[in-house]
Amino acid sequence: MVRSRKEMMKAFALVLPSLLVLLIFVYFFIAWSFRVSLSAWRGLIADYTFVGLRNYISMFSRERFQIDMMNTLSFTVSFLILCVVLGIFLAWLLDKGVRAEGLFRNIYLFPMSISFVVTGVVWRWIFNPTVGINALMQRIGLEHLTWGWYTDPTRIGWFHVALIPVIIAASWQLSGYTMAMFLAGFRSIPVELIEQARIDGASEFFILRKVSLPMLKPITLSALIVLGHFSLKIFDLVFTMTGRGPAFATDVPAIYMFETTFRGNNYGEGAVISMVMLAFVAVVIIPYLVSTFRKE
């Protein structure tokens, strides 16, 4: 399509306000945070003395930061797997044409509409080792299944078992959303394809594995991107549910960043943590953006 110069100007003028706001409030502040991360700023008065990578070196040598990195990784991986598996399973069930599908869809989707802060508080009580799920199991005679949940500092390799309740809570909240994405995916698969397979005598499970799932690849990628950036910068759910946990068992970079910056007034090192978080998300998002851009 050929656009006249005039039209181009008009289009540019229309996006200009949002572009300016975006430039100032997103990109300028990212650049500014980066500058702060290279400064000696500690305390309430801004100090932009350039110290190079000193804050980065001291941050990466900290045990808490290393634990946080590994927690983010193990949390993200388990959370993504759980959400995608649950999402596909629920969507597959709904796609089979259950009665009152709308009702079930809303029930599954509902947790997503609640604030993380609210669900964090509720899940904290559910997994409280004295009054929560443990008390329930004791009552029904399953004492041997009780354990400390998020208060247990045990770790298997780099994986903190205390993260399990947090992963359950996060997946509970977002697997409904994943279901909605996959349901749309299932619906977009041509009916003829499935019918054809049925006529050929394929079992339902075989159809799911060999026909539907391959067709769902683009949806899966989108779901992973959306969920992945949620989990890489998660703060509110963990903060209200478990905090940093015993020996940082449930600590995540966002909590460390908040405490370093706003409790310790250490702005330089706080900025380092936010830059690292940005890098994490960028690693996930940028390849996706590039590939979609190329396709267009």
Partner: protein, 421 residues
């Protein structure tokens, strides 16, 4: 067409201007007094209201604004306050812990106005103990008015349990281990701890450090005279690890008041907590001296580890003269006697009316007058916020891995880091 573009451009550029104009309108001068604190619950909120009542009766024309941010130990409030102060929007006066919490955070940032003149005008230089004035001073100027004094090193115990097993309150660390051993044999958790927020473990550790090192070497930890990785400090950390053997297993899930509830319920026999625990026991309708009793935490008899909530005068306070009057109310005998019995703390002045205080507070007032005074770290008196944050991080690891050497070297690193600034 060009016109449209220009109009759009003008609109775009005008938006920020309008935003600033709206912001400016809010700071219109009115006869107000805005007091910022984290006193939102129970006795502390009542105490604050009592101060406001005195203020309003003296200055009826001033509208008092109670700006509080909830959250234990001011964790959330401090973040909000820092943002307001940096943004040039200070309250008229705010709650701040005496000691390094005041000096290293606010005074060195040049955000506080010296208020030595108020002390001189009101004759307070003799009314407040010198040790307390020193904690709110920097380079010869005084920067805040203490509203109260809390004691950190207190062991609270369940009296009926101690009577039942014929135990007496442990004065020394050795006696503590004897008592704890007997209680453990009887199937009672000896010591209740609830360190979900970490500072509660720091709180226990500071009492152990004080007991093991003594007041002088303890004070040396904060100016570099006592090395954190020296043999004395390591011995104290060893004692701390031994004490953890006698602590309830679910400590990481509890808050300090839930730990105190264990003592009330008889699930645990003792807990080390500041004397705001007394307020909690009273609120739970426990009889002081009968249901629960107290003693200086083991090994710290004769030392009073203090912390204090104070109010200062930020530079650029919008209603400065109202704020100065507020500080005069806070430091007055009437103010101290109105606030402290409700808050469950003792007055910072030594010339107040003893009869207004209950049996525990009277005993604390006696100790305060004669004991050696040292500063608490868990509550912002002994070290800066930044240092205390690092200490909490080390303790969080230490409580679970119990590795004395690694904790000692991390503590030493933090000390070196912060003392060199």
């Amino acid at each position: 067409m060009r016109k449209t573009v220009i109009i759009l451009l003008v609109c775009t550029l005008a938006v920020p201007g309008l935003l600033f104009a709206a912001g400016a309108r809010e700071t219109e001068v009115r006869n107000q007094l805005e007091i910022f604190s984290w006193w939102t619950a129970g006795g502390e909120a009542e105490g604050l209201d009592a101060l406001f009542d005195i203020y309003s009766s003296l200055y009826p024309d001033v509208e008092v604004i109670n700006a509080t941010v909830a959250g234990g130990a001011g964790a959330q409030a401090k973040a909000v306050l820092a943002t307001r102060m940096q943004g040039g929007n200070p309250p008229d006066s705010f709650q701040v812990h005496a000691g390094r919490g005041l000096v290293d955070t606010w005074v060195v940032a040049n955000m506080m106005e010296p208020i030595t003149f108020i002390y001189e005008e009101e004759g307070w230089l003799d009314a407040f103990p010198q040790g307390v004035i020193d904690m709110v001073s920097d380079e010869g100027e005084i920067y805040s008015v203490p509203a109260n004094i809390h004691r950190s090193n207190v062991l609270w115990y369940n009296k009926p349990i101690f009577d039942q097993y014929g135990l007496s309150a442990p004065v020394t660390i050795e006696e503590f281990f004897d008592v704890a051993e007997e209680l453990a044999h009887a199937g009672v958790t000896p010591l209740a701890l609830g360190d979900v927020n970490t500072w509660e473990a720091t709180h226990l550790l500071e009492s152990v450090l004080l007991a093991s090192l003594g007041p002088d070497a303890y004070a040396g930890l904060w100016d570099g005279a006592t090395p954190w990785d020296g043999p004395e400090a390591k011995q104290a950390l060893d004692v701390f690890v031994d004490i953890l053997e006698y602590v309830n297993t679910d400590h990481a899930a509890l808050t300090w008041d839930e730990a105190a509830q264990y003592v009330i319920d008889g699930r645990a026999a003792m807990t080390v907590m500041g004397d705001w625990a007394h307020g909690y026991f009273m609120a739970m309708e426990q009889e002081p001296g009968a249901d629960y009793h107290w003693i200086a935490s083991p090994g710290t008899e004769g030392t009073f580890m203090m912390l204090s909530d104070t109010f200062g005068l930020p530079k650029g306070a919008p209603h400065r003269s109202n704020a100065v009057n507020w500080l005069k109310v806070v430091g007055s005998v009437d103010g101290q006697d109105a606030f402290n019995p409700r808050k469950g703390s003792i007055p910072a002045r030594t010339d107040t009316d003893r009869d207004k205080y209950d049996i525990y507070l009277q005993s604390a007032m006696t100790d305060f007058a004669q004991d050696t005074i040292v500063a608490s770290v868990a509550h912002g008196a002994a070290a800066s916020e930044a240092w205390a944050t690092d200490i909490n991080d080390v303790i969080s690891m230490f409580v679970s891995n119990k590795n004395v050497d690694s904790a000692a070297s991390s503590f030493a690193r933090a000390a070196k880091d912060h003392l060199s600034r």
